[in-house]
Symmetry: C2
Subunit: 475 residues, 2 copies
C-alpha cells in the first residue's frame, strides 16, 4: 500500500492526490470534476457535521431543506450575485421527457430560493430573527478541479438569517465565524486567522465577507469558512418586508455563512507526513486501533480475550480492532499510520504476561511506549488530549514561523515571489494595486485580520493609512 504514496517531502501535490486514494478517503467519479466520498472520508464529514450542527442548534438555528433546482430568473434578481455565479452554473433544460419552459439552475448556493421563501414567512418583527441552516449538496461547474478542495459538486452547510437591524446581522456573522474558528482550532487542530475579505474577494452579493484562513504544510493559504453580512441586498431584491413595532414596513438585514467538504482537504494538508495522514483525535473516525500480536496460533484465544478487555475499558472512544489473519502486524502498522489513526495499541502474549501493552502515537515519530494495563484508561485519555493539543500547537507554530512582515511594496512582491507563506503589511484597499500584486505574484489578499484594528501608514499609497493585511498564495 505504502508504495503508491509519493512522499510529501518530494511532491506535496502528488502526496495529496495519492493519500486521498490510498487512505480511501475519496475516489474519482466517472463524471468530470465530481468525486465519490468513500466511507473513511465520509466518517470525517459526519464528525464535522455532528459538532457544527450541535453548535448551530445551541445558538438557536433550525435546519430546513430547500429545493435543489432554482428558476433561472431567481438567480438573476441580485445583480452582483448572478455576475459572480453565471460562469459556474449547471442547467436542467429537460425533465419528464419534455423541454422545460424555464430552465432550472442546479443550486450553486441558496440565497435566492431561501429569500424567496423568507418573503412569504417574514411578515412581522415577531418573525425575526429568522435563523435557518441547510445541509445540502451544491454544484459549481469548475474548470480545474481537485478532490475535496474544488469539485463540481460538493457537500456543505449554508446558514441564512434575517434580522431587524444591521448591527444584529453583523453580530450574527461574527458569531458564526467564531463557531467556525472554534471548530477548526479545537476539533480539526488547525490554526486560523479570522479576518475581513477585500472588496475583490468578497461573496457575490455581500456587503462584507469574513473568513477564517489556515496555512497548509506547503505554506499556502486555505480559506476554511466564510460568513457574509448581506445588508439589505437580498431582502430588497426578493422583497422581504416586515412590519416593525411601530407598524412600519422594513427590509430585514441578512447574513449567510458556510463550510464544506473542503474542510477535509484542509485537515489532510494541515497535518500529515511522508507516511500518510495524521488525524486529530477529536475528529478521527478511529481514535485508537488495537492490533493483536499472535506469534503462534495457540496464543490467539489469550490475546483476543485481552483485546476484548481493552476494547471494553476504552469503550467511550472510537476503537477499531484489526484482527485480520491474512496480513502481518507490520503491514497493519503501516496501513493505520497511512490512515492517520492517532493511537495504536499492540498487545501480545509477552505483554499480557507483563501486564502491559505497547502504545504508539501517530503525531510523533518512533514514539513507542509501554503502558501498564492498570492505568490504560487514564493514560489513553491523557494521550488523546495531548495529541490534540500538540497537533494544534504544531499548526500554530507553523503559521507563525511562516509569516513575515514587510514594510514596502517592493519587499512585498519579492517575498511573495521568492518564498511561500503569509506576508503581512499595512495596505490601503485599492483594486488596481491588489490586481497588480496578483498578476506579479499570483498571491491574493487573504484577509484583514480582525484582531488588529490599528491603522498605520500603508505600503501602497504614500498618503494613506491602511489596516494590517495578509497576502498569500492560496488553494
Amino acid at each position: 500500500m505504502m508504495k503508491n504514496l509519493t512522499p510529501m517531502s518530494e511532491d506535496f501535490n502528488q502526496w495529496y492526490t495519492d493519500i486521498i486514494q490510498e487512505a480511501e478517503l475519496a475516489d474519482y467519479s466517472p463524471v468530470k470534476g465530481t468525486m465519490v466520498i468513500r466511507p473513511y472520508g465520509y466518517a470525517i464529514w459526519e464528525n464535522i457535521q455532528k459538532y457544527l450542527d450541535n453548535r448551530f442548534k445551541e445558538t438557536g438555528h433550525k435546519n430546513a431543506y430547500f429545493p435543489l433546482f432554482i428558476p433561472k430568473s431567481f438567480i438573476e434578481k441580485e445583480a452582483e450575485h448572478v455576475e459572480g455565479f453565471s460562469p459556474e452554473l449547471a442547467t436542467v433544460t429537460h425533465a419528464g421527457g419534455k423541454e422545460l419552459d424555464e430552465p432550472l439552475i442546479v443550486r450553486p448556493t441558496s440565497e435566492t430560493i431561501i429569500n424567496h421563501m423568507f418573503s412569504k414567512w417574514i411578515t412581522s418583527h415577531r418573525d425575526l430573527p429568522m435563523l435557518i441552516n441547510q445541509w445540502a449538496n451544491v454544484v459549481r461547474w469548475e474548470m480545474r478541479t481537485r478532490l475535496f478542495l474544488r469539485t463540481s459538486e460538493f457537500l456543505w452547510q449554508e446558514g441564512h438569517t434575517a434580522h431587524a437591524t444591521k448591527e444584529e446581522a453583523n453580530d450574527e456573522a461574527i458569531k458564526m465565524l467564531n463557531i467556525y474558528e472554534e471548530f477548526v482550532q479545537n476539533v480539526a487542530a488547525v490554526s486560523v486567522t479570522k479576518g475581513l475579505k477585500s472588496e475583490i474577494e468578497k461573496f457575490a452579493g455581500a456587503e462584507k465577507t469574513y473568513s477564517i484562513e489556515a496555512m497548509m504544510l506547503d505554506k499556502k493559504a486555505l480559506q476554511a469558512g466564510t460568513s457574509h453580512e448581506l445588508g439589505q441586498n437580498f431582502s430588497k431584491a426578493f422583497d422581504i418586508q416586515y412590519s416593525d413595532e411601530k407598524n412600519k414596513l422594513q427590509h430585514p438585514y441578512q447574513t449567510s455563512w458556510g463550510v464544506s467538504t473542503r474542510l477535509i482537504g484542509m485537515i489532510i494538508m494541515a497535518h500529515g507526513d511522508d507516511k500518510g495522514l495524521k488525524l486529530p483525535p477529536n475528529l478521527a473516525p478511529i481514535q485508537v486501533v488495537i492490533v493483536p500480536i499472535i506469534p503462534k496460533k495457540d496464543d490467539k484465544q489469550l490475546v483476543m480475550k485481552k483485546v476484548e478487555e481493552i476494547n471494553e475499558i476504552l469503550e467511550k472512544h472510537r476503537i477499531e480492532i484489526d484482527d485480520r489473519d491474512e496480513v502481518s502486524p507490520g503491514f497493519k502498522f503501516n496501513e493505520w499510520e497511512l490512515k492517520g489513526v492517532p493511537v495504536r495499541i499492540e498487545v501480545g502474549p509477552r505483554d499480557i504476561k507483563n501486564n502491559k501493552v505497547i502504545v504508539s502515537r501517530r503525531d510523533i515519530d518512533d514514539s513507542k511506549q509501554e503502558v501498564s494495563f492498570d492505568n490504560l484508561s487514564i493514560e489513553i485519555d491523557d494521550l488523546l488530549t495531548d495529541i490534540q493539543n500538540n497537533m494544534f500547537k504544531k499548526s500554530k507554530d507553523h503559521m507563525i514561523r511562516n509569516t513575515t512582515h514587510v514594510e514596502s511594496k517592493d519587499e512585498l512582491i519579492e517575498k511573495l515571489i521568492k518564498t511561500e507563506g503569509f506576508v503581512t503589511c499595512y495596505w490601503s484597499e485599492n483594486e488596481k494595486d491588489e490586481m497588480e500584486i496578483k498578476e506579479l505574484t499570483s498571491a491574493t489578499i487573504r484577509c484583514y485580520p480582525l484582531d488588529n484594528k490599528e491603522m498605520k501608514k500603508s505600503i501602497n499609497h504614500k498618503d494613506k493609512e491602511g489596516f494590517l493585511t495578509i497576502f498569500s498564495k492560496a488553494y
Copy 2:
C-alpha cells in the same frame, strides 16, 4: 390558526394539504412539484435519520456519498432499470457556459453510479460483503405531485450492498426490511404488513422487491419502505467481479433498500384528527410543551420559576416552553394540538399552591388530569410510553378492522369498488388478471404478506393455488 384547517372528517385530502401548511411542516416551492421542508417537518426527518442511521451502523453499514449527476449511458446499461425510470428523468444539458458532450441525469436512484464504483472497489472475496448507505436527495419528475408523498425532489437513504451468495443477499434484503418495520412500528407507531411485491409492482431492475405497507386513516395503503434483492442484474451490467476463495471470478449478488421523506406523509395520515397532527412521542420534535398560566403580571416570576424547575426535572425529554406574551393560553393550546405535541403541561399560581400541574395528552380527547409535582418525572415517563403504545395499538386495530377476506374474484372486485381498506384473498400471480383488477377498481396488489407461506386454491384461476395477497387502493 385553526380556521384554516379543514376537518379530517369532512375532507381527508384537504385536511392533509392544510395541516402540512398550518403546522409549518412544509411549503410549496416556486419550482413545480418540489417542496420546502420547514424546520418543524425537517426535525421529524432528523429524528427518522437518527434512529435509522444508528441501526444501519449497528448492522455493519457505512455511509458514503456518490455524485448527483449520472452519465446518461450508465442509466441505459440495465435494460429494465432504464425502462422504469426514463419517463421521470431530469437532464442537465449545459454546464459552465457550454453544452455538455454527454447529457447528465440528475440521479433518480444511484444503483448505476454506485455499481460502477463497486466494480473498481470489489476485486476479492475479502471485499465482501460490501455494505454501503447514502443519505441524499433524488429527483423523479412526477406529473401529479403531493407534499411529502410524491414530489419531484425528495430526501432519502439508499442502501447498496454486494454479497458472495444469493442467500446472503436475500438475508440482507430481509434484515433491512425488518429494520424498517421496527422503525415504523416502534418509533412512528404505525402498523405495517411486510410482504413481497408482485412482478408488476417490483423495482425496475430487481429480482424481488419486499415492502412494508401501512394503512392510512382514510383506509388507503401507503408503501412505507422497500428492500430489493437485485440478483446479479447490476453486477453483470456493470461488470463487478471478484475472485472467490478458489481464485475463480464471480459476479456478486446485490441488494438495495430505501425510505424517504414520504415517511413524514405516512405519519401525518396514520395519526391525526380534526384538531391537527398527532405525533408519536418517540419521533416528536417536541415531546412536552409547557404553557405557563399567568393571570396577573405579578404572578409571572413565581410561575416562570416553576416552569424552569419542570424543565429541569424533564430534561431528558424534548421540551418546549411557550412563554409568549402576545397570545392567550387558549390560542397556545390549539396551536400545540395542531402541531401534534404528545403532552402539554399547564402550570399557574393556583397549581403551584396545590403542588401540582395540569397534564393533557394529545392522543385522547379531553384528557386533562392533575399530577402531583413530586411524581412529575415518573408520571411523564409513563405517560409518554403509554401514548406511544396506544397510538400503535390504534393503528394496528384500524388495520385489522379494515381488512376483509374474500373467497371469489367477483367479491374482490365488489369490495374494492364499494369499500376502502385492505382486501385479502388467495391469488395466483398473473399479470393480465392483476391489470384487470386495477382497471376495474384502481386498486393494486400491495404485497404477498411474508408471515403467511401457505398456498391455497386461488380465486383467479380454478386450477392454481396462490399465496395470501393484499389488494388495496394506495397512495
